[in-house]
């Protein structure tokens, strides 16, 4: 098992090299960032001078080598526009995205798995049909549109929840980290906790919609498959209470494919955060990536893509390991 994990970690190296190379090549075809940095008065001479200063006039492979060497030393360069180190920019925003993604995963798993189980044990009833139509809607609705509809209904019309943002700014809460909900809970700052939770509900719901639908359908089909197996019939024949049959005997085995989906959704959610964060003014890496792309801020684009790719790969590894714990038949060698 340990050697397997080490091998998988070593495989990270070529994957990340590939990611950086891909990002680097894409960066070659995007427009020249100097025009944006220098604004509407820029002359070609000034642009050339700045290109030289930024090292953009060097051969691509020299730039790539330089980028890799610095990245190995934890230096991802400085943002062209804010002039702050990329690691600083990302570090200040990533906690917000993690909290949003975790909230979405929580909603997607709880709602998705419960809906899937209910659908499976009440197959072909009204509940099953309603749940599956809901799942279909969740999978097919664009995040952007769903987000705007949620705002319109719950914030503007019903006034139950805030329109957007991370926290009520006028309240002047002070946080030391970007993990507002976790920090507020740890420091027992309950007004801030309540406020932060109220703000995360709509964006997390919008972000979770697709994953919830997917997990619900996955759980349903997996459960249906498991409950038809012999050992379940045996358990029922033994007189084991139905509740126990479902939650103890069936669910654990039905969960194996679901865990994979949940794990993979984590990566999807990080990507979906780009749209959700834009709609809900969420100050995470999604917002950062959008403004980086809009401004041709090459170091910042490279940094965010590298981060998301790394998280994606690491989460996949974790999913594979969790597998082994859930199903002792799976062995890694």
């Amino acid at each position: 098992m340990v050697s397997y994990i080490i091998r998988r970690l070593l495989m990270l190296v070529p994957v990340l090299l590939g990611v950086t190379l891909a990002v680097f090549l894409v960066m070659q075809v995007i427009p020249d960032p100097t025009g944006i940095i220098l604004g509407q008065h820029a002359t070609p001479a000034q642009m050339a001078a700045l290109r030289h200063e930024l090292g953009l006039d060097r051969p691509v492979w020299v730039q790539y080598g330089d980028f890799l060497w610095k990245a190995l030393h934890g230096d991802l360069g400085r943002s062209y526009l804010t002039r702050a180190p990329v690691t600083y920019e990302i570090g200040r925003r990533f906690p917000h995205t993690i909290e949003l993604t975790l909230a979405a995963i929580l909603i997607a798993s709880v709602v998705g798995i419960l809906a899937g189980i209910v659908s499976a044990i009440r197959q072909y009833t009204v509940i099953d049909h309603l749940a599956m139509v809901g799942a279909l809607l969740g999978v097919s609705m664009p995040i952007f549109w769903l987000g705007l509809m949620l705002i319109e209904l719950f914030a503007v019309y019903l006034h139950w929840l805030p329109v957007d943002g991370r926290i009520t700014l006028e309240a002047g809460y002070h946080f030391r980290t970007g993990f507002y909900i976790i920090e507020a809970a740890v420091t027992h700052n309950w007004p801030a906790f309540r406020d932060a939770v109220r703000h995360i509900i709509l964006p997390a719901t919008a972000l979770a919609a697709y994953s919830t639908g997917l997990i619900a359908r996955m759980t349903r089909s997996s459960m249906l498959e498991v409950v038809r197996q012999d050992y379940i019939r045996t358990a029922r024949a033994k007189g084991v209470p139905e509740r126990r049959v479902i939650f103890r005997h069936a669910l654990k085995n039905a969960m194996i494919p679901v865990v994979t989906v949940v794990g993979l959704q984590f990566g999807y959610l990080l990507g979906g955060a780009v749209l959700t964060e834009t709609v809900f003014s969420w100050p995470g890496i999604g917002s950062l990536a959008v403004s980086a792309v809009q401004n041709s801020d090459i170091p910042l684009i490279q940094g965010t893509v590298l981060l998301v790719a790394t998280v994606f790969v690491v989460v996949n590894l974790v999913v594979d390991i969790v597998y082994a714990f859930l199903d002792p038949r799976i062995r890694y060698s």
Binding site: L38, G39, T82, E152, H159, P162, G165, P283, S296
Partner: protein, 527 residues
């Protein structure tokens, strides 16, 4: 037999001659074909984005039978195509004024020295050159006004542009917010803005906008989102009268300009302190301007050459007097000193202390003191109780980032923010109809234009330019694409600016006359 051959030969010959004439006729009378370059994304002066190019294409096809090939690009790449590579025969572009001076519209676009830069049309008219150079050196506003009006007239006759529209500046506030004034330059001054709140409650004003600031060091920025915050943290030597581009004293109480227009002597306000407690004096002015002059200016100071490019030296005369010497007379120089980028006076002590990080630890003399900055979320400013022009009316200002235009409008409708800008045309009606909201709009300091490359065919021929100008129904475009958030332009300058002539008559929409002109220019036109 011989005769028959001869007849056949003659018939063949006649047929060939007739055919040749017919062919020649065809090659002579071709429809006008245009390579039309355009950008895809909406711009402040063209909120409709690529729909504008499509509308123009359709009108030229319909009215002139022209073949218009649209080439679209993203904004940065587009600037490169148009300005650096010089591609396309006609292109869409626009301009947002920097300092409210006509020089900043006319000289940069129509003076022949700007060919290769913003004068990408290759436009050259010696008379216009003369007028614009003269106006740049003239200090009497009335004389400048006349000079610019003459230049406007010539430019409109030459028709290097189709003057499409000026977009309105739009801001909406909650009804309990008072004292907000739109400035033609787009400046946002919140010093005199008040908010009515229940007794005993803090007055916190939340201003939502579409993007975060990039830096709060005035020397390093040229974007509106940074300027908005900077204008409230710092002061400038001179500033604008509310809602105008007229100059009034700020950190300078008065000033003299030498007769040759080269030496500006500023007398500074006494007893003003920076937010860090250090005194404001001549050293601060010399430090703030000096770092952006000549060799000191670095490549990442986007406005240094625009604002201070003509400055030869800046010297301290005594603690409260500063002398700025220009290399050549530059009439808009005072207006430049009122702008948000480059001009504000910074604390030299803080500048030294924070170095490259000054942009995140801004220290000025302005009405609000920088408190904190949560990136992509908020910038918090506290009222400066010792402000020389009186304490601000609100206790705190929050500049909030709300990326999506529609969400921003909904925030205002829901009452969670007090002021918004960057209003989407689709949201104008719902904001205007809300009883809780004040909708402010005024002519913006911008121009949305279609440019012809006048240095090459087909637009080196004035008749072709006139024909295309007259084949475009600008009023219909503004009515259908901008629905009341823009006005039709009558020339290169927006209304209200020095040198703007309300009686200017550009080539008006007249498809019949356009067809006639294009036929005269040797093109095939539809009946």
């Amino acid at each position: 037999m011989e005769f028959q051959k001869r007849v056949a030969a003659i018939i063949l010959l006649v047929a060939m001659v007739v055919g040749a004439f017919a062919l020649a006729g065809c090659t002579q009378k071709q429809p006008l074909t245009i390579d039309f370059y355009t950008y895809t994304n909406p711009r402040p002066y063209n909120p409709a984005g690529d729909k504008l190019a499509e509308a123009i294409q359709q009108q030229l096809q319909q009215n002139l039978g022209a073949v218009v090939n649209i080439h679209q690009f993203g904004w940065t790449e587009y600037k490169d195509e148009i300005l650096s590579k010089g591609n396309g025969q006609m292109y869409l572009f626009g301009w947002i004024g920097d300092n409210g001076d006509p020089d900043n519209f006319l000289y940069v676009h129509f003076h022949s020295s700007q060919i290769g830069a913003l004068n990408a049309m290759g436009y050259k008219n010696p008379q216009v050159d003369d007028l614009l150079t003269q106006a740049q050196k003239e200090s009497d506003p009335q004389k400048r006004d006349q000079l610019y009006k003459q230049a406007d007239q010539l430019i409109v006759q030459d028709a290097p542009w189709v003057f499409i529209s000026h977009a309105n500046d739009m801001v909406a506030t909650r009804k309990n917010v008072t004292g907000f004034v739109l400035y033609p330059t787009g400046s946002i001054f919140l010093h005199n803005v008040d908010k009515e709140v229940p007794a005993g409650q803090q007055k916190v004003l939340v201003y939502a906008r579409g993007a975060d600031s990039l830096s709060l060091d005035p020397a390093l920025i040229d974007d509106g989102e940074s300027a908005k915050v900077i204008e409230n943290i710092y002061d400038t030597l001179v500033t604008f009268e509310p809602g105008t581009t007229k100059i009034k004293p700020a950190l300078a109480t008065d000033w003299q300009i030498s007769d040759d227009g080269l030496v500006y002597t500023f007398h500074l306000r006494k007893g003003v302190k920076f937010h860090d407690g250090t005194p404001f004096n001549a050293d601060a002015v010399v430090a703030s301007i000096g770092r952006q002059v000549g060799q000191n200016a670095t490549a990442d100071m986007p406005y240094a050459s625009f604002t201070f490019g003509d400055v030869d030296k800046v010297e301290k005369v005594d603690d409260y007097t500063v002398k700025i010497t220009l290399k050549e007379p530059n009439a808009p120089f005072l207006l430049n000193l009122a702008m948000g980028p480059a001009a504000p006076i910074v604390s030299p002590t803080a500048l030294k202390k924070y170095g490259a990080d000054f942009g995140r630890h801004p220290v000025g003399t302005g009405p609000f003191i920088f408190e904190k900055w949560d990136p992509d979320q908020q910038i918090v400013l506290k009222a400066n109780p010792n402000y020389w022009d009186g304490k601000p009316k609100v206790d705190e200002v929050i500049f909030k980032v709300t990326k999506d235009n529609t969400v921003r409008a909904q925030e205002l409708l829901a009452g969670s923010v007090d002021i918004i800008d960057g209003i989407d045309p689709a949201d104008v009606d719902s904001l205007k109809n809300s009883p809780d909201i004040n909708f402010l709009s005024g002519p913006g300091m911008n121009i949305n234009y279609l440019a012809f490359r006048v240095d090459r065919p087909p637009f080196d021929n004035p008749k072709v330019r006139q024909a295309v100008s007259m084949a475009i129904d600008r009023q219909a475009i503004v009515d259908s694409l901008y629905k009341g958030i823009a006005v039709v332009a009558n020339g290169p300058l927006p209304p209200g600016m020095l040198g703007y002539d309300p009686n200017l008559k550009p080539y008006e929409y007249n498809p019949a006359e356009a067809k006639k002109l294009l036929a005269e220019a040797g093109y095939k036109v539809p009946k």
